[in-house]
Symmetry: C2
Subunit: 389 residues, 2 copies
């Protein structure tokens, strides 16, 4: 055999061996490690990437800020409405009030519009409000109210507040039922009442008007409702590849859930739940001819699931299409491997380094980040371990 | 550039690119899928590979059998002692009695010796017994009793019965405390009493004699004891690479644990637990000057962990060194990624296909298998998905 032929043969063997690995459903995956990118954030709630290195961050107990991930500089965005609940006060350890999600308009680059959800207050209490504003340099201008989840009331939890634009350029958002205990439910439970905005997922056009193709629950009903039977959903996220929307939901006692959003679906609360009622004597009304949609996954322990993303980055190829989800309770970072829409493997990451986590998000280039729910909150990058890690 | 030089350069580029992947802590990993290899097993408890395709299997509610994984043939091994608890009867839904582990002597190929743990009975009740026997064709001969976890008593649970040979060729095995509720504990709890064999991990020479280097708990104490403070451990496994021994332990209410076996260690039960007592009024005695060893991991939900292995196969490279653990409760198959001896990621596999699982084991060639704890129990191979799966 000539020398060059031998080399070519070796080359082919090596090439085939690389190819074979690929063909056998094998994918590369690095070891994930954490890198703190920002700290001293006051209970950060959400992050929106203006570019790979410039972000908007909402602090639940603070401000809407703009930060640079490279030089670590940060500024407060001016002009926020004054009805934001002053969350410095601590009325109740379960206090969820403050700033929630910030998302960009699908055409943000040309119109500079952003949407912010927050706990607003008036003399009757507080509720979830969504505003649209123009981000003009470092100030909000042209502020418009897009949605108010009235009635206002004095309890300070289960606002919901998660928002995302779908592939259809509609704004989807979560509104919790605002009740802590089933004792307080009216005869027709809040989340099942189509005359009540609470305990629902809503869908609006970018200007706050009602899309013509929203589900038809009847003429007299609240027309922004897209799905019902929600107790306390916060996180909602778009799978940019499939267009599917996923949302997490807090259970009462256990019953923490991961759900796939479907038009007009009823997720069952409080008639049907994968957890237990806080009030063991509570007997939900019987609802006939109602079809309930089960969660795609639920946990047997309390994880308090919140902000999530569907991983479409390239740094962790084996995680492609997995749901990465933050938890406020002891399990802080979860990865859910799907087969289609069915969870098949559920991994709790970093069990040796648990922290209350609020949000998981991806940068435009697909880098994975998480926010921790702490007074000294952190933005953490989840990155592949370097060779010497 | 000459043609052969070009080819060599291409070769090097490709080689470097393959190498680079390796260097970046990236490993290949295929998608795991299940393949049923055997069924109609009566609550199989353990498996021991005589070769890649021939195995011994203990059925908790049946026999010691020999099976061929290729032609699916199986025979009952004759000559088992008659004091095996007849587990066809069902006295109690918590009945754990029956056949437990079968393991081979480190020199099995030359001496044909096997060890079997099982629930034995006499007129005073039942207890865990370990025998050694020669596997002579399809019969047991030369049967010797190696260990009896007296006293016999009439409760039918927490026998333990997990066995493994260490790298030191000593036999390690788990004996549960045999109590279901803390109410029944004597003043000095069983698992803390060094005059009691129960609630311990023991270590013996292959002939049942006491190793000279067992921990020294005092002259009058039971000299086979290697570790104390065990409630209801079943699974115990050797990491063939590191020589470390790991064992799982059932909690009372929560408190399911994964432990690293250490000479002379006290794992705390019932003084210290990561779960809750069944009897909320139970107050354990105060033990002073006693150091308790914490589990490496514990679950916040009930998983009922049992037979485990430390993965050293090659089919799932990313799982190298991970602990794969079976659960009897809803979570049936767990993978625990370690950093040294610290769990960092904990994955529940096949959440869409949960089954009561008893044991995870590897074949001589490193293939991964599990046994399901069912009347129609199965031996399942966990294998890489084929290209078209």
């Amino acid at each position: 055999m000539k020398k060059s032929v031998l080399v070519v043969s070796l080359f082919l063997v090596l090439f085939q061996s690389c190819k074979k690995i690929d063909q056998k459903n094998q994918v590369f995956n690095p070891t994930p490690v954490k890198e703190i990118v920002l700290d001293s954030l006051r209970h950060p709630w959400s992050i929106s990437f203006l570019s790979e290195d410039e972000v908007l961050i909402t602090e639940k107990d603070g401000d809407l800020i703009k930060a640079n991930l490279k030089d670590k500089s940060r500024i407060k965005i001016k002009g926020f409405p004054s009805d934001l609940v002053d969350s410095i006060r601590v009325k109740d350890f379960r206090d969820n009030s403050g700033l929630f999600e910030v998302v960009q308009h699908p055409n943000f680059k040309s119109n500079q519009l952003i949407y912010i959800s927050y706990a607003a207050e008036n003399s009757n209490g507080t509720t979830t409000k969504i505003i649209r504003a123009k981000l003009n340099d470092d100030s909000l201008t042209n502020i418009e109210t897009i949605f108010v989840a009235d009635p206002y009331r004095f309890d300070l939890f289960h606002y919901g507040g998660g928002m995302v634009f779908g592939k259809d350029s509609k704004l989807y958002f979560t509104i919790g039922e605002r009740y802590y205990n089933e004792n307080e439910q009216p005869t027709l439970p809040i989340a099942q009442d189509l005359d009540d905005k609470r305990g629902k997922i809503h869908r609006l056009n970018d200007d706050g008007s009602i899309p013509t193709d929203n589900p038809d629950f009847g003429n007299e009903k609240i027309s922004s409702i897209y799905a019902t039977g929600i107790r306390a959903a916060q996180g909602i996220a778009l799978d940019t590849l499939t267009g599917m929307l996923w949302f997490s939901e807090h259970g009462s006692v256990q019953g923490d859930e991961l759900n796939l959003l479907q038009k007009g679906a009823n997720y069952g609360w409080p008639i049907k739940t994968t957890g237990k009622y806080r009030n063991s004597n509570y007997e939900p009304p019987i609802m006939e001819n109602v079809e309930f949609t089960a969660p795609q996954h639920y946990w047997l322990q309390t994880i308090a699931p919140t902000g999530l993303c569907i991983y479409r980055g390239s740094e962790f190829p084996a995680w492609q299409g997995d749901i990465i989800l933050a938890g406020l309770s002891r399990g802080s970072l979860w990865r859910i491997k799907l087969d289609g829409t069915t969870p098949i493997h559920v991994e709790e990451l970093f069990v040796n380094d648990r922290v209350r986590s609020r949000k998981v998000a991806q940068s435009p280039n697909g880098k994975l980040y998480m926010l921790t729910d702490e007074p000294n909150g952190k933005l953490i990058r989840i990155k592949p371990a370097a060779k010497d890690d």
